[in-house]
Symmetry: C2
Subunit: 540 residues, 2 copies
């Protein structure tokens, strides 16, 4: 087929917050009152009004050498472009923007148009000791976009937005070959015209890119049905400073270790994914989203486990704990009126008869474990599934501190992880003088375990970045202490880096360093992301 591309450029991510700049969530007065009364929120924390308010460090790099590779029109050095590539969209990032801190802005933005151009840029940066931040949608929530560039000659953001083609569609194998800069909705639109979907819908879907999904080992809201991105990716081409890596010749192989799984989750530290072969499925004939209210989180957990283990798992399956159910964060107008028990969402997508069969079997399990149907909750979740980050912006503006963090564990450990992490967050913030509300939901299920996604809210203290760092550290220690993983789908970035040695052990970190030294001997790719940065000179 002839490669096809989106006909219009995608919307730019709001430079000072999440999403579409024309969308804003206005908090009802009752929410403002609740924030004051329940959490002690005092001062507002307004966003900066214009990119011109920022003073960026002087750029350390000129455009010429890069322009010789990608063309002058594809190198940007203006302050607004630098600001837009300076930070991700974690709460600490958004708080720093409110303090006009974009100190980690890259010196230049380079926009290669092909695998060969990426290779040439990486060679150039290796020769000149310039750090490279591979940049997709810019939606990292773990500090994955701010490389430690101090010991380098400069830092570029390597923005893959020009590499946005659907290159091939193999309808027999149900595989699409795509470039890394395609955003989620763009890929779905190009494939949807031909009757297919990837089925990967993380909360960042509207702005994140396919390359980013691979680099961060992303997991979508419909992972129970479609699998994580690691299960969707069948083959890949990777540009590294020392050449090209092509991986994946079959759906499965026993030809040694699976090196695809080494690039997935490497967060731009080993190479730049320049093409991806991903599984596609026919656009579902039928979509149905149900809500179910359990008497308690405990009963809901049991039902989710049975569904995940006994083969009638919905495409989307989530369960809020009692606190999250009661607070009803999704509908700020009815805050605190979510009712009792634990609310679950079950979504089914597929052929009509298959959806009917699976929904029927799952419904038996929900009812058997005491859940009562609440159809409107399912519909509301589907409608509002990408809205939460907008609400976070509004709450931050109002002076509240809101952050999310997540983990996964085997089923037998899930209750203790839920309990221990919730307590750690509450205790840390209370000790800092800002009593917190902690909410949690199961966001992804597997036969052997599940992920837990926590949302924490309190008043912003004087230094909210430090306040949050302390709470996050307490939560992270709690996660490691009760056997969970430091991240189920957000990734390591810089925020979780200190816990990677506990996660994979010092030998595991050694393996990652050895692989990096092999593929990126000058250590230019995302220094400080995933692994500690080299100090001064690159490691041997």
């Amino acid at each position: 087929m002839v490669p096809s591309r989106p006909s219009t450029p995608p919307p730019e991510l709001n430079w000072s917050g999440w999403g579409d700049p024309s969308v804003s969530t206005v908090l009802p007065q009752r929410v403002h009152a609740l924030l004051r009364e329940a959490l002690g929120v005092r001062a507002e924390s307004p966003r900066p009004s214009s990119p011109a308010d920022f003073t960026l460090p002087e750029p350390r790099l000129g455009a010429d050498a890069f322009a010789a590779v990608v063309g002058f029109q594809n190198v940007r050095s203006d302050d607004e472009a630098r600001l837009r590539h300076a930070l991700g969209r974690s709460t600490p990032d958004l708080l720093r923007l409110r303090r006009l801190d974009a100190s980690g802005a890259p010196d230049l933005i380079v926009l290669p148009g092909s695998h060969e151009e990426v290779l040439a840029v990486l060679r150039l940066c290796s020769e000149r000791r310039i750090a490279v931040v591979p940049f997709g949608g810019g939606t990292s929530v773990v500090g994955g976009l701010e490389a430690a560039g101090a010991h380098y000659e400069g830092v570029i953001a390597l923005d893959v937005r020009r590499m946005n083609a659907l290159l091939e569609l193999d309808e027999v194998s149900r595989l699409a070959v795509v470039e890394p800069g395609l955003r989620g909705p763009e890929a779905e639109a190009l494939l949807g015209e031909r009757g297919y979907t990837i089925g990967h819908f993380p909360q960042s879907f509207e702005y994140a890119t396919l390359g980013g999904f691979a680099a961060t080992r992303s997991s979508g809201q419909a992972s129970a049905g479609y699998g994580g991105f690691d299960e969707l990716l069948m083959a890949m081409t990777v540009a590294t400073p020392v050449g090209t890596l092509r991986l994946g010749r079959a759906p499965r192989s026993a030809a040694g270790p699976d090196l695809r799984q080494l690039i997935l989750g490497s967060e731009g530290t080993l190479g730049v994914v320049t093409s991806l072969t991903v599984r596609v499925r026919p656009v579902p004939q039928r979509r149905a989203y149900d809500g179910w209210r359990f008497p308690s989180f405990t009963e809901g957990l049991l039902a989710l486990r049975l569904l995940a283990q006994d083969g009638a798992v919905p495409t989307v399956l989530r369960l809020s704990d009692e606190a999250e159910t009661a607070l009803n964060l999704a509908w700020p107008g009815e805050l605190g009126e979510g009712g009792g028990g634990a609310l679950a969402i079950a979504g089914y997508e597929g052929a009509a008869d298959e959806v009917a069969a699976r929904r029927g079997r799952a419904t038996l399990v929900f009812e058997q474990e005491g859940a009562v149907g609440e159809p409107e909750a399912g519909e509301a979740w589907e409608r509002d599934r990408y809205r939460a980050p907008y609400l976070r912006d509004a709450l931050l503006d109002a002076g509240a501190l809101v952050e999310t963090l997540e983990t996964a564990a085997f089923w037998s450990a899930v209750p203790s992880v839920h309990e221990t992490v919730s307590s750690a967050l509450r205790d840390s913030l209370t000790a800092q003088g800002t009593p917190a509300v902690v909410l949690c939901h199961v966001s992804h299920v597997y036969p052997a375990g599940a992920s837990l996604y926590f949302t924490v809210g309190c008043a912003q203290a004087e230094d909210p970045v430090a306040q949050l760092r302390a709470a996050k550290a307490a939560a992270s220690e709690a996660i490691m202490g009760c056997g969970g993983t430091i991240t189920h789908h957000h990734g390591i970035g810089t925020d979780h880096r200190d816990w990677l040695p506990q996660e994979v052990g010092p030998l595991g970190v050694g393996v990652l360093r050895a692989v990096k030294a092999e593929l990126d001997p000058e250590w230019i790719l995302n220094p400080g992301i995933l692994l500690p940065p080299p100090s001064g000179t690159p490691p041997p």
Copy 2:
């Protein structure tokens, strides 16, 4: 729970061939006649009669240093033990046994009883530059047990048979923690008493070990239903020459690359797996195996693809091509009377209602693509599923050359792989003066593709090892040329090592070398397996 172990030692693998020494397949006269007339088989190729016929090289190592670690009773240096650890069970291995060639026998067999003892043995071998061959069931069919020991002070086989406990069973998470030396049937028996199964049944099942399943990235006959061993393994402990690696804290994580997938398939070159946490499921209430005859392989392939892609996939799904169907190799008494078309096997295992539903939906697909039910074929396959290697022994004894090889590819490439590899085998053997029969079946299916398993038979030439090597090389080139993987589940060993650079590229090989240098700096683990051996001194 208290660790539990098998109450009796497992049967020893026949030292001169496959399986239970008391089982032998007697070929009917009509088969001998067919071998003579159709393939030109002339001289018989009898097995050696006694281990005493072999003259092994003088052992280069004394037992004392190892005995200090594991106890004198757990070090063996007698010739029979050395012979039993000298070779795997590939056709070249069996042919070499017929020539009394066990030149690759290890100097000593060391049997550690714990993770700590494995660590200590690896440290000792690193200090003294002794090569280590991790040894499970000894069933490798790709030369995975014969390390390149010439440049070392000696070679030990590190046999994990004493590490054979079921350590834990977590019924909530449906996870079992097992030691690596448990054989397939032993693990199933220990778990079966408690109502569970792993569901991993490769053809080597009766003799292979759990540790071997992990090290070789094994795939079972029921992989469509239970997943490959890479999908069953959730966590692992690995002893390496530089220490312990513990991987896997949750069913899924985004904490960087998935390092479990680096140990899976590492074939003992990076470390020794000392415990495995694997998924278990309830023993199926119901098992049903059907046979289906398609008008042709092409129609059968279409049906298998639809089943794999549309969600009603059987637990076991296989399809023989016309040649394999007609030859009817499974029933030597009726050789050549298998009839026309292409025979498929579909097995279903699970809860009774779930099996009924899935079988009903799959039956519609079989019938829609023109297949006719043949129930006795399904039952026969289930009964005889582990028999093929016994038949190979008998055919080799009779003077025929029989070997199997396998690959996998994306669906759109499957027909060309089938055609090209079949031709390459036939052409190579015909050019060597030994016209061949080539059979093939699909052994594993995935939404994006399938594996193809080839069986080739001809007369043994004067040097059958060289004859086979040439045919295998032709087949391997054909596989790589049309986009398949060099191995779907047999592994790399030494036999496929020369194709690994084509499979993962020189950079991929470089990554594997870098990881090995990190975990095994003295390069003692399985030198020459998976990767080329170091020449003389270990690499930097």
